[in-house]
Subunit: 478 residues, 2 copies
């Protein structure tokens, strides 16, 4: 099976990005559609990416004092109803359990779409004094949101995530925590997933149901559409009041706590696919790749080839996540394509002649460049190469983002920029939701955020012409 | 607050074991009752125990080729109905989702009580040839079973577990895998949790709904009741046939795969509590303890005490999970009791005079023995001590099990032994379910298992008097 044939199995990324995405998800065996409508099965190769994200993130969480727990997945209707904005935001998209143990339930239970309500209820039991604060909790779990249109990883009725929930003595401390956790997300996405993020605050229109402020990290995909990759919410006392999270403060008086929540989800796997992939398929940043190096033997039936490969594998497995593909029913050419499609960062090719010469060939997935390396230098060279690939993949995304970021001074210009290039469009904004609505209505772009790094592009809002002192970034989204 | 007052807060273990258990769960902050009926919130201290169990177990799984994945938590009714015994076993205790996104569902969905059905459906899509086998999958997730009577960790409507599901070419390989995974459970429970296990095969009556064979690891609790701590099931082709898990075998013919499943749950936290606890509360084996060593400063307001404690903590934290309790609103006496109640294996007491003498006091939680140790030998001594505690706790359980294991030759004797001592009662058994039913009806004991290590106690069944060649262990259970 030749290379050309194989690659043709994936839709061309420039012709039909949506179909390309689905092809990669299925053919790289990251996930598959399940019998349960709108839900996916995350396959071992996809789940291993999630495990790597979890391990990296959880370590960062623990370094800043976060403790994991596990809360019930079912929330009584009366609890969900306690915070008005929250229930309005989530009630339309929840799944309800109405029967348990063959009996109709007295009160129906929703499967958590997010757990502010149930967690706040527990926190109100556990917190008495300022000495109990801060409470810094988190859970890694599944949640359900009854989406009408679904896409693997990006928008699935069920997905995996972590949801952190904290309570603090002061608004200042809570706001600092909100930003601290956003910083961790930024670290995860930039340093592990090699995708540059745009950091900022969501507008009133785009913030989380029930939040006082929502902060976000935004990523730009291959096709120039934006993806909200992680959010961190400051609630003020919006939840502590209805849920009665009270503490005795240092002056001996009762006070409501200041709370936050923040989450990242398995949609990050979608972000990796769409930020880095190409016409050969998936392209994984080395730090998050379940397999960093694959060894493909050439003429593996010949004496000594598999033995050498096995020895290489054993030596290198201390330093790298390494796989030997010794399948005897596929040609090396098929294997090259197969592992390229699965996004493995580096491939080692080694056959009888290479062994004779004490060398092997390295092929990097990001640039497809080949090099010959002496076996004695292999470990050192692999280390350099993986680091270089990680950096190069980040830089490629950064370059694309630069190329796809534009400035606009009128509604027409916003639309025109998006039609040409998708991407991020920067404008000034007066702060009025009507102007935001207008932009969304005409261009289909949502405000991504009010970036922390502000620029002064003009004095007035491109919609209403009134005074504008905020710069907003707009973009069509996943 | 004196020691006596404090300890009295926990019900006496010999007077009311059930209440003692609940007291420990709540007061050691392992879990709390949630607003959702029959469900618990696992608090950070309890969840950290589960994380330690997960880490240990998951590493063992990966060593034998197991790969994690994530399957949907909702199972369409038609799938659950495909395997007759399975649906009969589980349908009465599932929770049904009937409404999603504000609309009545066409087909109701149950929240997984276990995932054989949905996983088998995916496997049937993924498996084509013997080359795809074995498939060795696992997921760490939540499941729901609508229990009528619930107890934290032991029997909760929602619990956390891992469920492994494998498919093999031959029945032999599948049976070997079933036993291999049971061996890992035995390792986890004996070496990590310090609880000896009884290994064996479940009787027809007690096996998993849909299984050909169920193997079990059984533990004995403080009060002499048994706890099923982990099970591993061999399904033969019971699931592969209705779910069409077919593969082309080495002869090119279609054949149904041979499948297994196996699981351990958060009930293991209940096992730790009930196997090791005493009148001071929880007693954690060092290897699974979230905090292995706690430093309690004496006269912490005095110059240099907290500095020394902090230095100790920093030095020791490379080798141990260590906590410094520097709370300034509790006396050392209160702290001693508090950490004993939370089961921390070793306490370090250190005050101004100890610092002057270059020493500290170590108190071990299992025996409450005290010793004075020079600070220069502290790390070495702590290592020895933790190892000794781990072994001693295992041996104490083993001794209790020996003391509470008896032999019986008649129904009366089984009943009498259980009334006196609870514990395990060994008898011969003819293999007839009617005799098993009789024993259960009269004594309230279930057959724990047909142990792998068989003994010949008599020639006949104590119930029917017919020829008996199997030894069974009986016990009342949690």
């Amino acid at each position: 099976m030749g290379k050309e044939n194989f690659v043709k199995e994936i839709t061309n990324i420039e012709e039909n990005f949506t179909q390309w995405y689905t092809d990669v998800v299925l053919k790289a065996e990251l996930a598959d559609y399940a019998e349960t409508k709108g839900c996916i099965a995350i396959r071992p190769y996809g789940y291993a990416i999630w495990e790597n994200i979890q391990n990296y993130t959880d370590k960062k969480f623990k370094e800043v004092g976060i403790q994991n727990f596990s809360m019930p997945s079912l929330i009584p209707e009366s609890l969900l109803n306690k915070e008005k904005d929250h229930v309005e935001g989530f009630a339309p998209e929840v799944a309800w359990v109405t029967i348990g143990g063959e009996e109709e339930l007295e009160e129906k239970l929703c499967i958590r779409p997010t757990s502010e309500t149930i967690i706040s209820t527990m926190y109100s039991k556990w917190i008495n004094s300022w000495r109990d604060l801060p409470v810094l909790g988190n859970q890694w779990c599944n949640v359900l949101r009854w989406e009408k249109e679904t896409r693997p990883f990006l928008r699935s009725r069920e997905f995996l995530w972590q949801e952190g929930h904290t309570v603090h003595e002061t608004s200042k401390e809570a706001e600092e925590r909100t930003l601290m956790m956003l910083e961790i997300y930024s670290d995860v996405i930039e340093n592990l997933l090699a995708i540059p993020v745009l950091k900022g605050r969501k507008t009133e229109k785009e913030k989380f149901a029930g939040a006082a402020q929502t902060y976000t990290v935004e990523c730009l995909m291959h096709d120039g559409r934006a993806l909200q990759a992680g959010t961190s919410h400051y609630f003020g006392q919006n939840f502590s009041k209805p849920f009665n999270i009270k503490f005795q403060n240092r002056e001996g008086k009762d006070e409501f706590g200041y709370t936050t929540s923040w989450g990242i989800t398995t949609r990050l796997i979608g972000a990796i696919i769409m930020a880095h992939g190409d016409n050969r398929g998936l392209k994984l940043p080395p730090k998050v790749a379940p397999i960093q190096v694959v060894i493909v033997p050439i003429a593996q039936h010949k004496d000594g080839v598999l033995d050498t490969c096995l020895e290489l594998k054993n030596n290198l497995s201390k330093s790298f996540k390494i796989k030997l593909d010794d399948r005897d029913n596929y040609s090396p050419g098929f294997k090259f394509n197969d592992w390229e499609m699965r996004g493995v960062p580096v491939r080692i090719e080694i056959g009888p002649r290479d062994i004779e010469n004490g060398e092997c060939i390295l092929v990097r997935r990001d640039t497809l460049e080949k090099e010959t390396v002496a076996l004695e230098n292999l470990e050192k060279r692999l280390k350099e190469l993986l680091e270089d690939i990680q950096n190069n993949m980040f830089n490629e995304c950064l370059e694309r983002r630069k190329a796809k970021t534009s400035v606009a001074y009128s509604l027409d210009e916003i639309l025109q920029n998006l039609e040409t290039n998708q991407g991020y469009v920067k404008t000034m904004w007066c702060g009025n939701m009507a102007c935001e609505d207008k932009i969304k209505e005409v261009t289909g772009a949502h405000s991504r955020c009010i970036p922390f790094e502000q620029e002064h592009l003009a004095d007035v809002c491109p919609i209403c012409g009134k005074k504008a002192d905020k710069m907003v970034v707009w973009g069509r989204q996943y």
